[in-house]
Structures are given as structure tokens and as C-alpha cells.
Amino acid sequence: MSTVAPTQRIESRWTRAWSGRRRWPLVSVVGATIAGALVLLPLAFLVVEAQASGWGEAERLLLRHTTAVLLWNTVRLAVACAALCAILGVGAAWLIERTTIPLRRFWAVALVLPLGIPDFVVGFGWVSLDRGLHGFPAALLIMTLSLYPLVYLPVTAGLANVDAGLEESARNLGLGSWATFWKVTLRQIRPAVLGGCLLVTLGLLAEYGAFEIAQYRTFTVEIFTEFKLGFDTSAAAVLSLVLVLLSVAVLAGEAALGGGRRGWLAGPGARRPAPRVPLGRGRAIGALAALAALCGLALGVPVGSLVYWVIRGGSTTLPSASILGALAHTAEFSAAAAALATALAVPVVTLAVRHRNRFTLVLERLAYLPMALPGLVIAIGLVSFSVRYAVALYQSAFELVLAYAILFLPLAVVAVRSAMVHAPPRLEEVARSLGCSPAGAWRRVTLPMIAPGLWAAFALVFISAATELTATLLLHPTGVNTLATQFWAYTTEFSYGAAAPYAGMMVAISAVPAYLLSRRMTGLAARETP
């Protein structure tokens, strides 16, 4: 008996969801289902492709010595880099948010800007200056300097939100300042640190360009090589599945450590920003030197290197027709992908926010799935699909746009969601009672209200697509070059001077939003301090 009852309850919930008593917006259901199917498509074909190779072949691939080396390389880099990013991110965030460090506003912006430089450009910046730099140390250096802002940003927000009352209570209960930091403050920002480390690790697993430049072999690099140079789709698919499993394991690990939990608040409205720790003269100088070193390495070296190569490469080649053509293609593909991803995100979010049930929850989770899918994996899945069932799609501009849209769908969903929760369905109902049709009510009320979120989604996806390298290398239409592919072509033939302007262009495209983001963060923090 007891085993039967729960099943029945689930069934009746499903049937209720579909019975239409709460009218489901058909457009949203169709749109969100398409989005979910698109996300699953590359994954499904990865499985198909891997199966085609047969168990024996898969076993041979996975049990060879190389696999162990790749696994070791990937895991040790992920652990070391996440740990370093956590230390740098928390340390910098604490200095900025909780001490009286001089030039706070300036540092707050400078510390985020490395996010605007694609990882492979950072790699290019370092390695082009010193060709002797390679292997694990090079990979760790490049990735840590590129990715630490992913920890710094959420921790800054977390520290700004820690209630002063909690720390004061701890001190009042007899804990010293260090003990308070360990037992209270760090507990409060733990979800932010873990969330940041999760993003760092997922970024590492997906990275190709920087490791290729640093001559460091991880799973992604190996898959790319197998696929692009060895033309071995099945082997690439098998290894890709291992990579997906690694990503899923990282996600599960973060969840198990309690990363999804938010900080607890004592009560509503009782929050007060914590006071800043005054730094003495000596400590302030030490802190300034540390921040200057970090920003110099993360920002100064790559940018300086680009400038150096642009100048050395000669300004005559700079505004050539090919760079403008590449820029136009990049803008075209990125804009199309941004529009598509935003359009797919709207129905997913509409259902998830306004019609919450099991089915819509699954659709929303699916939309977040590409976070764990490296661009390379999505590209291989799409190639596999198009080769088998839609040859016209193979190496078409549309396939590249589709890959971008799937890859960056999570960004669009996050941006649209944050806007949608502020557009209650009740307002659409009021509009209906004032004579609007359902579509009219959406257009006149909900659309204007979520417009900022739609623009944010568009901008985020556009920037990410414009600076994407791995999937672009695999999917770009033959003979059509983007900024990323042209940069890569020059870099691999060591024409650093020719490559630099392309990298500079990509940095310019993505630095602006990184700057705006940091401005917003510091703006928020500044308002909270008296």
C-alpha cells in the first residue's frame, strides 16, 4: 500500500498540470520545449556517436595510459586553480569591502577587468612574451589570473551583505577578530566562495585555447585534437562524455558542500553593513603592493603584451579589410545568437516563474545544463547531428549560431529571470480587465517591464559569443573568419604582431560590460557606506 500511494499522487499532479485548469500559455510551452530539446540535442548525439564506436573501442580509449595522464592533468589543475582563485578572490574582496584601503573605487574596477579579457588572450599575452613558459605552471598562472574575478565578484557581494550584528554578537560572545572571521564571516560567504570556485572549475574544464598556447594537455585539448586533427569523431565523443561526467561531478560536489544555500539572515530589515577595519600605514602599503601586483599580472601583462605586439607589428596592417570583415562576421553571428538565446530564454523563464510545477522545473534545469557542457562538447554533438541528419546544416552559419545560443542559454535565462520576477502576472490580469487581449496585455505590460532584462541577456550572450574560440574553431563556415578564428590562425603560426589587433578588438568588445559590471558593484557598495 505504502509504495502505491506516492506514485498515484505524482500521477494526479501531472494530469492536473496538463488538464489546463490553470490555462497554460501555449506559446511558452512550445518555446520552452524547443529550448529544452535544443539543449539535449548535442548531448544525445554525443551518446549516439560514442555508441557507434562500440564498447571495445571505448574501453581501449578510456583504459590507455593517456587517459590517466589527462585526468591527472585536468584534476590537479582544477584543484590548484580553484584554491588559488579562492585565496586571491576572498583576500581581494575583503580588502576592498572591509578595510579602509586607499583608492578603493579604482581597485574595485581594476580587479574585475581581467574578466573582460578572454583566457586565450591572457595566455597569448604571457606566452608571446616568454616562449619558455609552458606546462602546468603556465596553465595555472594563466587560468588563475583570468578566473579569480569569478570568486572575487560574488564574495564582494556576499561581504557587503553580511550583517554587522552577527560579527558583533560573535565578538560579544568572546571570539577574537580572527576567530570571528573564520567562524562567522567565512560561514556567511561560503556559498559565494563555493559558487565562484564552481564557475572557475567549469571554466577550466571547458578551456581549450589557453592550454593549447601553454602546451598543457587536458581532456578538452585532447578531445579537440582527436576531433580536428585526427578526424576521430567517435573517440572525441567518448572522451567528451567523460568530460561531461567531470562537470556533473563538480556540480554535484558544490551542491553537496552546501554551495546552493544562501547566507542566513537574523531577521528582515535588521541588516546593517559591517564597519571597515582601519589599516595602519604599514599594512596599507603592504595591501596596496599586493593589489598592484595582482592587477599588474592579470591586467597589465596581457594588455601590455597586446600593445607591444600591435606597435611592433606595425600600424599599417591595422585597419585592413580582413579585420573589418572578421569584425562584421563576429558581430553578425553574435547578434543572431544573442537574439536566439534571449528568445528561447523568455518562454523558459515565463513557465518557470509563473507556472511552477515539475514539468517547468525540469525545463528550467535543462536550460541551465549547458553550464556543465563545454563549448567543444556542444560543437561535437551538433556536428554529429548535422552529419547524420542535416548535412545542409554542417558548417553553416546557422549551426554556429545555434551552438552559441545553446552554450550561452544559461546566461540569458539568468538575466531574463531577474527581470521577470519583477513583472507579476497580476499586472497582465489587470490589463486584461481593462480590455487587452492576452497578447496585447503581454506586449503593453510585461514586455516593457522585462525589457531591461532582455537587453542584459542580449548583451551578455553577444559578448560571450564574440569572444568564444573553441566552438567557433570547429563550426565556423569554411572561408568565413571571425575575430577569434583569425586571431587563432595567426597565433598558431606565431605571427603575434598580426594576431594582436584581433585580440585587442575582442578585449574592447568585452571590457566595456566588465567595466560596467564593476561600476555597478562598487556603486552598490558605495551607497551602503555612510
Partner: protein, 353 residues
């Protein structure tokens, strides 16, 4: 002006019934208030009438035409039913004038209609403001003007004053009341505030557990509620044991006349309801245990809850057989300190429960 009729309305969410056969009649041009505790289905009832939710069973009709029955449902935009949700729900991206003109055609918006509406609700100077720049009372007025702009046949107000603070509430309430009278629009107002329901409405319908348990004029409800729980919901009440004899109720508080149709048996024992303001309280001058006199009960003030305009006295009868605590309402200036010895008598008529 149209009469709104709801017949045997059923509605549930996820297998949990919310409305279990609601019957409600709103006479044309009247203001009917639906009174109930939170969670009793008030808002659901309004949402079905407005057309945002489908009923499972039952009928809604307005001015003789059917809006909703088991088979058909007129979409919300074609019902001619105005809706003012809780806290106004103004469109935050539109100015006051744009909010009010939302339901009007482009031509109507260009005319003087919006101006006239704003003037009608007394906020003519605020046309260019955005909703977040308005006070709670102003937001309510905009929401009302917006709903009235399309000259709806019926108007639904969902707890329209609950978000306002106490002093503002009574003022806005009075103004809205006057305005609705003037417009003569058939109005349903749902509220959990019995004072609001009694003071504003022509008719009050009490919704409990998804059904209307009583509908009538405010005085009918207050004086002759169908049961003790409803009596207590509408205000403080003393339940007093009585002997019914010869059309009167003999109680420790005196022999009290019975209301017509109060449902009391012609003889036997029972319980009557005595409102606190039906009790006369007199202090005993010598402060001792003097005789209470004919038809009155001796007691002592145990506690005095002082409200300014009036005071509520908790009085413990000297003789425990006369019952537990009695509540008596006296004018503020007649409040008595606790410990005062008093005599208490009741004024009829009363109703049995």
C-alpha cells in the same frame, strides 16, 4: 447599471476545494461587501467573476448576460468588469495618466477623459508622476480611476484599503465610498475587516469555508447573525444563558425582549447574544456589596481596556452562577478603574443563537 448574480459557484486548486457552491446577489448599483477571514476564498471569488480563473461549476451573470457557466467563459477583456487588486497593482513603467488611460482607445486618451477621471478621484495634479512616486492612498485612487475609465458594468475591489495606514484608511475609504455612490456602479468589495464591511456596504455577505453563510444589511448581520461564531467575528459579544418564557428571555441581566424572527423557542432554556453596548454599567456608590437591584447583576470590574472614544470593561459577576466574564462598552469618559464594584443590566431586544 447591472445586477450581478453568482449561482452555485465551485472552484478548487489542485484538488483542494476553495469555493464550494457560492450564491451571491449584488443588486444593480449597490455596494456589496464580501467579508471573510484570509484564506476563505474571497480573492478566488473575485478572480472568477473577473474571468482570471475558470469555475468548475456554477454560473456568473451580469445584467442578464452569462459571463461564466460550466461550458462557456467570456474572456476578461470582454466582461465589462473593472478590477482593483490589492495594493492597486499600477503598471510601474507607466505614468499616472498613462495608467488611467490604459483601457481607453487612442482617441479617448487624446481627449479630456483622463483629466476628468483624475479630477474625479482628486489627484488632478499628479498626471505625470510614476507609481513609485505616489503615496499608498494616491496609488489606490489611480487604480480606481483606471478601473472606472472604461465605465464598467460592475467593479470589483480586492481589499482595497488594507495596505493603507489607519488614519489614511478611513479617509480614503469615505472618499471612495462617496465616489462609488455618485457613479452608481455595481460594486463588490472583499475585505477581512468587519468594520469596513459594515460601515461601507449596502449589503454584507459573509464567506466562510467557501460558502456564503449569511447575506443581509449590515444591521441585520450585526444584530441577528446566524451563529455564535459569526456573531463573534462581527464584534464582541456576550453569550448569556436564558429561560425563554412568554416571548421574553429571562437572564441574570434582566428580562429581555426578543427580536422578531430571532429563532428563539417559545419556552425552554437557551442562549442569547448581548452586545457589549447593550449593557448598562453603574458603579455602586458605597463601594460595598449593596444589593444589585431588580433585574441587575452585581459584579466587579476586572480590567478596563481604554480606547479613548470608548472603553471596554471586563466585569466578573459576584455570583459564579451568573456566568464568566461579561464585556460592556461604555463611553470613554465613563471608564471605570479595575476593582470597582458595579451593577450590570442589559437592554433588549436580543437574539437567540
Amino acid at each position: 447599471m447591472s445586477r450581478l448574480e453568482v449561482t452555485d459557484l465551485h472552484k478548487g486548486y489542485g484538488g483542494r476545494p476553495v469555493l464550494g457552491g457560492v450564491d451571491l446577489e449584488v443588486p444593480a448599483g449597490s455596494l456589496t461587501s464580501v467579508l471573510g477571514l484570509s484564506g476563505c476564498g474571497k480573492t478566488t471569488l473575485l478572480r472568477v467573476i473577473a474571468g482570471f480563473e475558470r469555475a468548475e461549476q456554477g454560473r456568473v451573470s451580469l445584467g442578464g448576460s452569462t459571463l461564466e457557466d460550466g461550458r462557456t467563459s467570456v474572456p476578461p477583456e470582454k466582461r465589462g468588469v473593472g478590477y482593483v487588486p490589492q495594493e492597486g497593482a499600477l503598471f510601474p513603467h507607466l505614468s499616472v495618466a498613462e495608467n488611467v488611460g490604459f483601457g481607453l482607445s487612442r482617441r479617448e486618451r487624446r481627449g479630456t477623459a483622463v483629466e476628468e477621471l483624475l479630477e474625479m478621484v482628486g489627484i488632478a495634479g499628479l498626471a505625470g508622476r510614476l507609481p513609485h512616486q505616489l503615496s499608498g492612498g494616491e496609488q489606490q485612487r489611480v487604480a480606481l480611476a483606471r478601473a472606472l475609465a472604461r465605465r464598467p458594468q460592475a467593479l470589483l475591489l480586492d481589499e482595497p484599503f488594507s495596505s493603507l495606514d489607519a488614519t489614511l484608511r478611513s479617509r480614503v475609504r469615505e472618499e471612495v465610498h462617496g465616489l462609488l455612490r455618485e457613479q452608481g456602479v455595481t460594486t463588490v468589495l472583499v475585505t477581512h475587516d468587519q468594520e469596513e464591511a459594515l460601515s461601507l456596504a449596502d449589503t454584507v455577505a459573509v464567506l466562510r469555508d467557501g460558502r456564503i453563510v449569511q447575506q443581509g444589511s449590515p444591521a441585520e448581520l450585526y444584530e441577528q447573525p446566524t451563529d455564535a461564531a459569526l456573531a463573534g467575528f462581527l464584534g464582541e459579544v456576550n453569550l448569556v444563558a436564558a429561560d425563554f418564557r412568554g416571548g421574553r428571555a429571562l437572564t441574570p441581566l434582566g428580562a429581555l425582549a426578543l427580536r422578531d424572527g430571532s429563532g428563539a423557542p417559545s419556552s425552554g432554556r437557551g442562549v442569547v447574544m448581548v452586545r457589549p453596548e447593550q449593557l448598562d454599567v453603574r458603579p455602586l456608590l458605597d463601594g460595598g456589596n449593596g444589593s444589585a437591584g431588580e433585574g441587575a447583576l452585581g459584579g466587579r470590574v476586572q480590567q478596563c481596556r481604554y480606547y479613548g472614544h470608548d472603553a471596554l470593561l471586563e466585569i466578573r459577576p459576584d455570583d459564579p452562577d451568573d456566568g464568566e466574564l461579561l464585556l460592556a462598552r461604555v463611553l470613554g469618559e465613563q471608564a471605570l478603574p479595575s476593582g470597582t464594584a458595579v451593577t450590570v443590566a442589559a437592554r433588549g431586544p436580543v437574539s437567540a443563537v
